[in-house]
Symmetry: C2
Subunit: 388 residues, 2 copies
C-alpha cells in the first residue's frame, strides 16, 4: 500500500533549497511506496494548518524551474512550535496518510525534525532531515548545501568590487558578508584572489574578537601601499567583551538594534584615518543570487534531496543526510545518515586553523578546503594597469 510523503522547509532560504526540493520530488515520483508528494506550503506552521499541496502532479518543465528559483517555492516559516503542536502531529499525519516526513533546514529545523521524530517514533511514520544553511554551521557534516553558492557569491562579488576599486583606487571599501556567529561565508571571500594584491585585502571573522586599533593600523598600511583597499567583514563582529562592535541605536520591547557593521567601520576609517571609505551590504543577495549559484552546490542539493527520499521510504528515521568528503586529491563526496540528535542546535564555527594569527585573513588550508565547493573557476579579469 502506498503512503504520502510530506516535505517541509524551515528557516531562511538558500540559492539551492529548491534544488533539494527538485531532488525530493523526482526521487519520490520513482518510488513505488510513495503516493502523493505533499509540500507543506508555509513551513512547519503549514503542518498544523494542513496546508498541503500535491506536487507530484506538477509537470516536468515547471519542476525544472526549481533549479533556478531563489527563495523557497513551498514557503517557509519562523514559527516556533510548542509541545502541544508536536503532540498534534501524529493525528495530522495519519489523517493525511503521511508516512514519510522530510524536513529541509539548518540547526533550528533539525531541532524541529528531532522533536517530530520523537512523537512519531512509535508509529509507522518516518522522519528524515535534509541539511541546508548558507552559514555552514551544521555540525558533523563537511559542509551544508547552500553554503557553496553563498561562498561563490561573496567570492565573485569581492573579485568584481576588487576590479572596480583597483581601477579607481581612491577609497577603502568595506563589504559586509552574512553569517552572524560563524565566519564561513566571510572567509570564502578569499577565493576572489587570483593574483598578488587582489581583493580582499583584509578579512575579519566573528570567531575572533575585533580589535579596532589593529584594524585601523592594517587598513592604513594597505591604503598607503595600494590606494584602494577592499575589506570583507562578518555582519556579526564582536569586541573582546562579546558585544557588537556597533553601538546600539535603538531598542523596541525586548530587542536592541544596531547599525550595519560595514557602515560603522567605513565611518570609523573616515573619522579616524581621514581616508575616503564606503560600505556595501549585499545582504539577502548573498542567498538569492542564481547567477552565482555554485554548480557543485546545486548538484549536491539535488543529491541530498534524493538520498533523503531513498532513506525515508526504507523506513530510516531520526536521521539527517550527511555530506562527507572522501579523502584524496580530487574533490569527491559521499552521503551518510547521521543521528539527528548529533546535529540538533550544535553550531559549528570556523576552526582556529583556518584563521591567520593576526586575525585579519584566512589560511591556505581554508582556501583549499573551500575551493571545490564554489564550482567552476571564477571569471578572469584583465587590467592593463598591471602591464605598466
Amino acid at each position: 500500500m502506498k503512503s504520502n510523503l510530506l516535505i517541509v522547509h524551515g528557516g531562511g532560504p538558500t540559492a539551492v533549497i529548491n534544488s533539494s526540493l527538485y531532488g525530493v520530488i523526482t526521487q519520490a515520483k520513482k518510488s513505488d511506496k510513495v503516493d502523493k508528494i505533499y509540500g507543506a506550503i508555509g513551513g512547519s506552521e503549514a503542518i498544523l494548518k494542513e496546508n498541503f499541496l500535491d506536487l507530484s502532479t506538477m509537470n516536468e518543465d515547471k519542476l525544472k524551474l526549481l533549479l533556478n528559483t531563489p527563495g523557497t517555492a513551498i514557503g517557509s516559516s519562523r514559527y516556533a512550535l510548542v509541545q502541544e503542536d508536536y503532540d498534534s502531529m501524529v493525528d495530522i499525519f495519519k489523517r493525511n496518510n503521511i508516512k514519510f516526513v522530510l524536513f529541509n533546514g539548518g540547526n533550528g529545523s533539525m531541532d524541529t525534525c528531532g522533536k517530530v521524530h520523537a512523537v512519531c517514533k512509535d508509529e509507522e511514520i518516518y522522519v528524515v532531515g535534509i541539511p541546508k544553511t548558507i552559514d555552514n554551521d551544521l555540525s558533523i557534516i563537511d559542509h551544508a548545501p547552500g553554503f557553496g553558492s553563498a561562498a561563490r557569491y561573496i567570492a565573485a562579488t569581492t573579485a568584481e568590487i576588487g576590479a572596480d576599486v583597483k581601477s579607481l583606487p581612491i577609497h577603502v571599501c568595506v563589504i559586509e558578508a552574512m553569517g552572524r556567529n560563524a565566519g564561513w561565508i566571510t572567509a570564502a571571500s578569499a577565493l576572489a584572489r587570483k593574483n598578488k594584491n587582489d581583493a580582499p585585502h583584509l578579512i575579519y571573522l566573528p570567531e575572533r574578537a575585533f580589535d579596532e586599533e589593529e584594524f585601523l593600523e592594517d587598513v592604513k598600511k594597505l591604503y598607503e601601499e595600494l590606494g584602494g583597499v577592499v575589506v570583507v567583514v562578518s555582519e556579526g563582529l564582536k569586541n573582546k567583551a562579546g558585544e557588537s562592535i556597533v553601538p546600539p541605536i535603538f531598542k523596541t520591547g525586548r530587542a536592541t538594534y544596531y547599525g550595519d557593521v560595514s557602515a560603522h567601520l567605513s565611518n570609523l576609517i573616515i573619522q579616524k584615518l581621514g581616508i575616503k571609505a564606503r560600505n556595501e551590504k549585499p545582504g539577502l543577495c548573498g542567498r538569492t543570487s542564481i547567477a552565482h549559484q555554485s554548480s557543485v552546490d546545486r548538484e549536491e542539493a539535488v543529491l541530498v534531496g534524493m538520498e533523503a527520499v531513498k532513506a525515508v521510504v526504507e523506513g530510516r528515521t531520526g536521521v539527517m543526510i550527511g555530506i562527507n568528503r572522501v579523502p584524496g586529491d580530487e574533490y569527491k563526496i559521499e552521503t551518510s545518515l547521521i543521528p539527528i540528535e548529533e546535529v540538533m542546535l550544535n553550531e559549528r564555527i570556523l576552526p582556529g586553523e583556518y584563521i591567520n594569527e593576526r586575525g585579519n585573513n584566512v589560511t591556505d588550508e581554508f582556501v583549499s578546503w573551500c575551493k571545490p565547493l564554489i564550482g567552476e573557476e571564477l571569471d578572469e579579469f584583465i587590467s592593463f594597469k598591471d602591464e605598466m
Copy 2:
C-alpha cells in the same frame, strides 16, 4: 602618415566601459590612420604624467576579456584638472604624436573633453567623447552605455530578493539603489515584476520630495496585505527642504556624512510601525556585476567605442557619440554626433511622466522605455504558494 590615438577613461566604472574600450581598440586597429593605440593608464591625470600604454600590441584573447571585466582596465581618476593642466596638453599630445583623443565618461568627463577640445581646436588634434554612466543622467541622448547593465542588475536583484521575501514573508526589505540625483536605476527595479504582487512593491525616487508619513502609510498597508514587502529607494532621497532624509552623523572638514538611506528607512519601519525590517545596499555591485551585464548594453558600448574611432579619424572633433532610439515598435538605435557643449555638465533626471502621482512607483511608460535596455528577459521563477 599615421598618428597615435589616445583613449582616456573618466569617473566611476560601469559594467561595460571596458566593452567600449574593446570597440575602440578593434576599430582603431582597422584604421590606416592610426599607429599606436595608447591607453591613458589612470584617467586624465595620466595625460599629464604621460602614462601611456600601447594597447595595439595586446593579443586578441586578452582583448576579449575586456567584454567581461568590471572596473576599467586602463584605470580612471577623479583628479580635477585645472586650466594650467589643459594648457600643457597640446605639447604633450604633439610630443607623443597623438592626433586622436577619445574621452570615455559621464557628465564630468564630457566637461573635461570639452575643455581639452577647446585647447586643441586650432591644432590638428581631434577630440571625441564616448558616453558612459550607470546613472543615465547624460542629456540629449536616449540612454547612456552602462545604464542598461545597472538597470538589469537592480531588476534581477529585486526579483530574487522578492522571491526570498515572498517565501518567508515576515518583514519589509528596503533595497538601496545607486543614483543620487537621478532616479533612473531605482526606477528600473520595476522591471523585476512579472506577476501581480511581485516585488518591488514600492519605489521612491530622488526626483520627488520624500514624505515620511506617506511612506509609512504605504508600507503598513502593503505589509498587512502581503506580509512581505520589498521597497526600492534611491541612495539620494531628500525631503521637501531638499535635505537628505537621513540625519547627518558626523562632519570632517568640509564634508558632512549621512548614514545609508536604506538603513534609516528600515529603522524607521521598526520604530514607527513595529514591523520587522531589514536593509540591503548592494552598492558598487550595481556597477560591477558581469553576471547581470545587459547584452544590449554591452553591444551598444562596443558600438559607441567603434563609432568614436570612426569619427575622430575623419577629423570630427568637439563631439560626443549620441544614441538615439529609432521610432517604431521594435527596439532599434542609431548613433549621432552631438556637440560636446550640449552635454557638458547637464544632468538629466527622470521626467515627470515616468513617475506615478503618489510618487511611490513608476509608470507603464517608463517600463516600456526601459525594458529593451536590459537585454534578455529575466529568469522565470516558480512558487507553489501561488497554486494553493
